[in-house]
């Protein structure tokens, strides 16, 4: 078997194993709940029967391993369980399946993250590359101080400044990004303008610094000096000598920042009251709606693992040492 294929398979296996362990951790969180949990969800007036029925529904009386595999099996077929909210002490159950809650919101979150990534990734790569090429210049130093400041600033501060300037003082954009399933695309883009702008500002700063560091590291290689001493023009050095070796570090930078975007989205969605999965998770945490929290955590962690996996695989398949083994 070709070593590239072998290494990719190994990495995929590791990714699956990680996802498995992570899912086990997320699952076991439900067993850590205090004993009187049923009463807390159903209310003080809940009868013993309703509580017992509730425990039975959760399967709390079965062994943890059995429950875990049942849960994994259900998740694999798209069944994420039933929400805790909407239950009452009388036993009337108006709770909804978690999938119905998560589905449309997941789409909204992906839309926001996608719009941000489409602006932020090219912008950050461009800024990082130019800062690396003109390092030490006034431009480079200005960018350094600006990004250092942006990185250290909480997302909600950036968000509220943008709201203040672009929504409150000058009413150009809506400060609440409420979208419905039937909102047309142009309207949707207009409404997510401020959240996307906030996320872009935060991501670009991170990503641009990492790109700059990766490119500088690459340009310090002896083979780049050798290329110069062979009379290669700056254009040839970048395109022919640096770029073929740059895919792995660039992929890592992009994946890391998209993963960061996944987390940044939580705060931004809350600020702009955007109906995404981040806001759903925060609401579920406040009401201690564990099945929803678990589903959201699983989605976030899965995305995170997947992004890192893709970056590693790009690194593997562009590595000449693996592509052309001895």
């Amino acid at each position: 078997m070709h070593p590239v294929f072998k290494t990719v398979l190994k990495r995929l296996g590791l990714g699956v194993a990680t996802l498995f362990v992570v899912s086990a951790i997320i699952f076991s969180s439900i067993s850590m709940l205090p004993g009187d949990f049923g009463e807390a969800v159903l209310g003080q007036a809940a009868t013993e029967e309703t509580v017992a029925a509730f425990r039975d529904e959760l399967g709390l009386d079965e062994p943890a391993v059995v429950r875990y595999f049942q849960w994994v099996g259900a998740v694999a077929t798209g069944d994420l369980g039933t929400s805790f909210s909407g239950r009452s002490s009388s036993g009337v159950d108006r709770s909804r399946p978690v999938v119905d809650l998560v589905g449309p919101r997941l789409w909204n979150t992906l839309f926001l993250a996608g719009v941000t990534a489409m602006i932020a990734v090219p912008l950050a790569l461009l800024l990082g590359l130019t800062a690396a090429l003109y390092r030490g210049s006034v431009y480079d130093r200005a960018v350094n101080v600006t990004t250092l400041t942006t990185i250290a600033t909480p997302e909600f501060f950036v968000a509220y400044i943008l709201i203040l300037v672009f929504a409150a003082i000058n009413p150009w954009f809506p400060s609440l990004a409420n979208v419905q399933a039937d909102t047309p695309l142009a309207e949707r883009l207009y409404r997510v303008a401020l959240p996307a702008m906030t996320l872009t500002l935060v991501i670009v700063a991170h990503m641009m610094r990492m790109t700059r560091a990766a490119i500088i590291n690459l340009l310090a290689s002896p083979y780049i000096e050798m290329a110069r001493l062979k009379g290669a023009t700056p254009r040839e050095i970048i395109l022919r000598h640096a770029l073929p070796n740059a895919w792995a570090p660039i992929a890592t930078v992009i994946a890391f920042n998209l993963a960061y975007l996944v987390v940044g989205v939580v705060v931004v969605e809350v600020v702009f009251v955007y109906p995404g999965i981040g806001q759903l998770m925060v609401d579920a945490v406040t009401t201690r709606d564990i099945p929803v929290v678990q589903a959201c955590a699983l989605i976030f962690a899965g995305t995170y693992i997947l992004l890192n996996l893709i970056a590693d695989i790009i690194g593997i398949i562009t590595n000449p040492r693996l592509l052309h083994p001895r």
């Binding site: 990680t18 362990v21 992570v22 951790i25 997320i26 969180s29 850590m32 709940l33 101080v145 250092l148 400041t149 990185i151 250290a152 600033t153 909480p154 997302e155 909600f156 501060f157 509220y160 400044i161 709201i163 203040l164 409150a168 003082i169 400060s175 993963a259 996944v262 987390v263 939580v266 705060v267 809350v270 600020v271 998770m281 925060v282 579920a284 945490v285 406040t286 201690r288 709606d289 564990i290 929290v293 678990q294 959201c296 955590a297 976030f300 962690a301 995170y304 693992i305 890192n308």
Partner: protein, 306 residues
């Protein structure tokens, strides 16, 4: 031409000898050469620490004193107005410094105790124990820490103690990785081998040979981790699952007063109220980052010729 000595003398060989100076003299020399950004950072941090320590003496009113009119505008009695249940914003800001910084500091310290000691042990041991801890950390880091924190808080509830322990454990993974990476480079040094060959015990090797040599990157990391922890706690409080009322805290203050921003066209100053605690958070983390940036430049090159 050459200045080669005719006869060879070992003690006359050139070696870069430092001028002996006291600690304060050295500190002053370093500070004088510091860039403006570092000076700015140091001043801001000092100011924050003073406010945090002397909060009860500086604050005009009590921390939970809600005996005033709600949403009062900026005035001489209430410089920054009052909040939704009539508490003085300035007072809340001052007490917020104490609570937010204190909790973040405690969390960072705990993270360093856990991550630092495990990292050192893993670096020295380099066998099954190292493997075990490293793989566990890999898995923990495969879940975004804010998400993990949200999940754990939903189970254990948002008390100050669960907040400190949860964030510290999650953050200690990064401390572990750094400590291990730095210490592994020191452990392979010949002087550590020389100490082992001499028959020195593990504790002595850790304390005298390894620790002094990993300190500079650890100090820098402490600054970075502190600002990260500080931002995480602020974010959690802002989301309403962090520090709980009536404790004054900047993250929750932003959330509680956020709606005032909509009044910008009527009273611009009121619209600034929710931005004040947010700015207080940003200013501190920016200041810490400036200091760390400067410290890293110092320790990477200049250290030896002071």
């Amino acid at each position: 031409m050459s200045d080669a000595p005719e006869t060879y003398s070992a003690s006359a060989e050139v070696g870069a000898v430092r001028v002996r100076r006291t600690r304060t003299q050295r500190a002053w020399i370093v500070l004088r050469k510091a860039p403006i950004s570092a000076w700015f950072g140091l001043l801001v941090v000092t100011f924050y620490l003073c406010v945090a320590i002397f909060a009860p003496f500086i604050a005009p009113y009590g921390e939970a004193d809600s005996s005033f009119a709600a949403y009062a505008p900026w005035s001489d009695e209430h410089w920054f107005g009052t909040d939704q249940i009539g508490r003085d914003i300035l007072t809340r800001l001052i007490y917020g410094a104490r609570n937010t910084i204190g909790i973040a500091l405690a969390t960072t310290l705990l993270a360093f105790v856990i991550g630092g000691s495990l990292g050192l042990i893993a670096a020295i041991n380099r066998s099954w124990l190292d493997q075990l801890i490293s793989r566990a950390v890999d898995v923990l880091m495969a879940i975004p820490s804010l998400i993990f924190a949200l999940m754990l808080l939903s189970i254990f509830g948002s008390t100050v103690w669960s907040l400190i322990v949860i964030i510290a454990v999650l953050d200690s993974t990064r401390v572990f990785r750094l400590t291990r990476a730095v210490a592994v480079n020191v452990v392979v040094m010949d002087y550590v081998e020389a100490a082992r060959l001499r028959g020195e015990g593990l504790a002595w090797v850790m304390r005298r040979e390894i620790l002094p040599n990993i300190l500079p990157p650890m100090v820098a990391e402490f600054g970075l981790r502190f600002s990260f922890v500080f931002l995480t706690i602020a974010a959690l409080s802002f989301l309403g699952v962090g520090i709980q009322p009536p404790t004054a805290d900047w993250g929750s203050m932003v959330r509680e007063n956020a709606s005032l921003i909509q009044f910008a066209q009527f009273d611009l100053r009121a619209a600034f109220t929710p931005l004040l605690p947010a700015a207080a958070i940003a200013l501190l983390t920016v200041a810490v980052n400036f200091i760390v940036d400067w410290f890293l430049q110092q320790t990477s090159g200049l250290r030896d010729d002071l």
